[in-house]
């Protein structure tokens, strides 16, 4: 910030997001409101988790950013409870919708959460975003109360189980196909990640002796950064820095968000299509020692990709 003191110009792009405050109820400007809200949400997350100072970060700044995130999450929660999860209003609460909603978290960690269209975001995906590794672990995912955030614990829907199993096997397949060193590392990393997420409940108990439940809300995980920073350690989460940063801030493929469920020909299956092998592999990227950018062509055949797709879709 204190370079040669050149005059700073505002981004034209930024200006486009600024301007008069639009209320969420305005019709045409709702998009810009949600866009602005999402942008601010992203910026806030990055501020909290991308900062690696040598000195303690300012508590005031952390608190203000946390409050911002909470407010946005509250808004999203309220909007989520009033409207169906789909982008379009044409498919209100139906079993399909429920399935999608509940299945969503399984895949949401593959996407970079912060950029999901707001309508598809609930508190669960955010948490998944922060703890993607835990979702690879059956136990944590199934028993996490936040998945069943609308009530007491209930058994996960059957749709989930086959997905997870097939996902795990798909994972293995991919690893077989990857070059040996990376696959070994990927497997090791995946195991470590799974191990970490198994550990994290106890870790979290150590950090929070006040006795929080394992599957905390996203807010509480965000707030972890506060006591951690000031009471015990500087860790901002229970994942390793590598995992968290790489998953959150790896190069983001936004092709998923161009997908419009309205225009898809098929039913539920097509809803899952956007979560392609691309996303899967991007998640694996951090586990490999070779940096994989989304633009790099993958080393797999298209046939392999199709195979995985079929497995995931369960058809």
């Amino acid at each position: 910030m204190l370079g040669k003191g050149g005059k700073r110009k505002f981004d034209e792009h930024e200006d486009g997001l600024e301007g008069k405050v639009v209320s969420p109820t305005d019709g045409p400007s709702k998009v810009s409101y949600t866009l602005q809200r999402q942008t601010i949400f992203n910026i806030s997350l990055m501020k909290l988790y991308n900062h690696r100072p040598l000195t303690e970060p300012s508590l005031q700044k952390t608190v203000l950013i946390n409050n911002m995130l909470r407010r946005i999450q509250e808004e999203l929660k309220q909007e989520g409870s009033l409207r169906p999860v789909f982008v379009t209003a044409s498919q209100p609460t139906d079993p399909l919708g429920d399935n999608f909603r509940e299945a969503q978290p399984a895949f949401s960690h593959l996407a970079s959460q912060p950029l999901l269209p707001t309508d598809l975001v609930s508190t669960t995906p955010l948490e998944s975003c922060l703890t993607p590794a835990s979702l690879l672990e059956d136990d944590t995912f199934c028993t996490s109360p936040t998945v069943q955030h609308d009530g007491p614990t209930k058994p996960p829907p059957p749709a989930l189980q086959p997905v997870k199993d097939s996902f795990s096997s798909a994972l293995d397949e991919i690893e077989e196909l990857c070059p040996a060193p990376t696959s070994a590392e990927a497997v090791a990393a995946a195991e470590t990640a799974a191990h970490d997420s198994k550990d994290h409940p106890s870790e979290s108990n150590v950090q929070k002796p006040e006795g929080l439940p394992e599957g905390r809300t996203a807010e509480s995980k965000l707030m972890d950064s506060l006591p951690s920073n000031f009471e015990i350690t500087t860790s901002t989460g229970f994942l390793t820095d590598l995992t968290l940063d790489d998953i959150l801030f790896a190069d983001i493929d936004t092709s998923m968000y161009d997908f419009d469920p309205c225009t898809s020909a098929t039913g539920a299956a097509s809803k899952m299509a956007p979560v392609s092998a691309d996303e899967l592999l991007k998640t694996l990227a951090p586990y490999s020692s070779q940096p994989v950018t989304p633009n790099q062509p993958f080393k797999m055949d298209l046939t392999e990709l199709d195979h995985i797709m079929e497995v995931l879709v369960g058809s």
Binding site: L2, G3, G5, E14, Q36, I43, M223, L226, F230, T233
Partner: protein, 464 residues
């Protein structure tokens, strides 16, 4: 009638600038606090490198009646050093957050300086004589051979070059878990308070191993933390009263006689939010960065991101006056959030004592408050003054360009939108790296000290 005019009647002239000229700013040279002492003769600055530099005003030259004395370096010392917190594996910055002078009681000067964790009381004393003519020692200190001593003499004090020494007299440490943002000396001149993000402690100047916690807003569960303390100050006359401001735009006035732990405020000052101005950033821009009592103690001034507010202590539900510092930034808040500028902490200050007016520096009138001006900084090295009586305001720039001594500063104007007039600057051309966070006003005269990133500017009003 000199000295009694309003803000725009004062014509501000460039007087001096201190600091490096080159654009490349060394991090350690960034000025982090500026404070005049009670007489105005001394001006102290603290920087990010933990150093304190004190300037002294020259004695007035009777022949040079057209300008007040210049400020020259009087003393420089390293107040705080960087430390390492081994428990958290974090550095503790040596940056001086605040300096507060004690009123002068004897020949020496005393000031409190603080970084994030530790407050120090420094004694600054002059030495202009030294004893000479010892019997047993040479002038350089070596001991003489006793057998060579044949006569006896009495050592005498002889003048020497003025030497200013700073020595730490008290170190008040280990009382703050969080970062200290304020220190304030009580009107009893025996105690002072120090405030961090969540707690305020009361100290006695003589006692370093004990302090009393008078405010604690730390929640039992840190997850519930949504508000922090941003500034605190003792009332100038009432030694049991102090205020503290918060990140949510509230000010609480507390009376230490009410209870040992002043968690229950006596008064809560808060302005209801203006619904037409609501945005995502409403809370952040309402966070108060500075609070200052007026000299009389009847009013207090607060600074939030976009405005300066004057509060009457008798009215809690809204300020009596609000001045917009840079309202044109309201539409840029998202960008300012992204580049962190929205978290900049601007300070504010009152003009010199509103009780006395000095005429020609020989006659002092004690008048009811006539001239009341408040000053605060902005971006692009601009700073703003608001005259509370005439309701006029002015924007000036602290810059080395076109600033010869005694040249009157030209008012600046920012063009918010539309067609930019000549000499106006458009909002998009503002340099947000050039921020004036710290300003100070001489306690008695119209002399102001304005700190840019690494330079200290001194301006005076044009005399005659």
């Amino acid at each position: 009638f000199l000295g009694a005019g309003g803000g725009n009647d004062i014509q501000w002239c460039f007087s001096q600038v201190k600091g490096a000229v080159d654009d490349d700013v060394a991090e350690a040279d960034i000025i982090s606090t500026v404070e005049f002492n009670h007489s105005g003769e001394l001006l102290a600055t603290g920087d990010k490198g933990g150093r304190v530099v004190i300037f002294q005003q020259e004695q007035e030259n009777k022949t040079q009646s057209h300008s007040r004395g210049e400020y020259n370096v009087y003393s420089t010392f390293q107040s705080h050093e960087p430390e390492f917190d081994y428990l958290k594996s974090l550095e503790i910055e040596e940056k001086i957050n605040k300096i507060r002078w004690l009123p002068q009681k004897n020949a020496a000067q005393f000031l409190l300086s603080t970084n994030d964790k530790t407050i120090k009381l420094w004694k600054i004393s002059e030495r202009d004589k030294r004893p000479e003519g010892y019997n047993l020692k040479e002038e350089d200190g070596r001991y003489r051979d006793p057998t060579t001593v044949t006569t006896l003499r009495v050592p005498v004090f002889r003048p020497m070059d003025l030497m200013v020494e700073a020595s730490p007299r008290r170190i008040f440490a280990n009382a703050h878990t969080y970062h200290i943002n304020s220190i304030s000396i009580n009107s009893d001149y025996e105690t002072y308070l120090s405030a961090d993000d969540l707690r305020i402690n009361l100290w006695h100047l003589e006692i370093t191993d004990r302090s009393f916690n008078i405010v604690d807003i730390k929640p039992a569960n840190m997850e519930e933390l949504t508000e922090v303390i941003t500034a605190a100050e003792f009332h100038p006359n009432s030694c049991n009263t102090f205020v503290y401001s918060s990140s949510k735009g509230t000010i609480r006035l507390c009376d230490m006689r009410a209870s040992a732990l002043c968690d229950r405020h006596s008064k809560l000052f808060e302005e209801p939010e203006d619904p037409s101005n609501r945005s995502f950033f409403s809370e952040i821009i309402s966070s108060i960065s500075d609070v200052k009592f007026s000299h009389s103690g009847r009013y207090m001034m607060t600074r939030d991101y976009l405005s300066v507010k004057i509060w009457d202590l008798n009215m809690e539900n809204r300020p009596v006056e609000t001045y917009q510092v840079h309202e044109y930034l309201r539409s840029k808040l998202c960008s300012l959030y992204e580049n962190d500028c929205i978290f900049d902490k601007f300070e504010c200050c009152w003009n010199g004592s509103d009780r006395q007016v000095i005429f020609n520096r020989t006659v002092t009138f004690f008048l009811p408050p006539l001239c009341s001006i408040v000053m605060t900084g902005s971006y692009n090295n601009f700073f703003r003054m608001f005259d509370r009586n005439t309701k006029r305001d002015i924007t000036l720039e602290a810059s080395r360009e076109n600033n010869k001594p005694r040249t009157v500063l030209k008012p600046r104007k920012v063009c918010a939108s539309g067609k930019r007039k000549k000499d106006e600057i458009s909002v998009d051309s503002l340099d947000f790296n050039k921020k004036i966070l710290h300003t100070a006003w001489h306690p008695k005269e119209n002399i102001i000290a304005v700190a840019t990133t690494n330079n200290l500017y001194i301006f005076q009003d044009k005399m005659n």
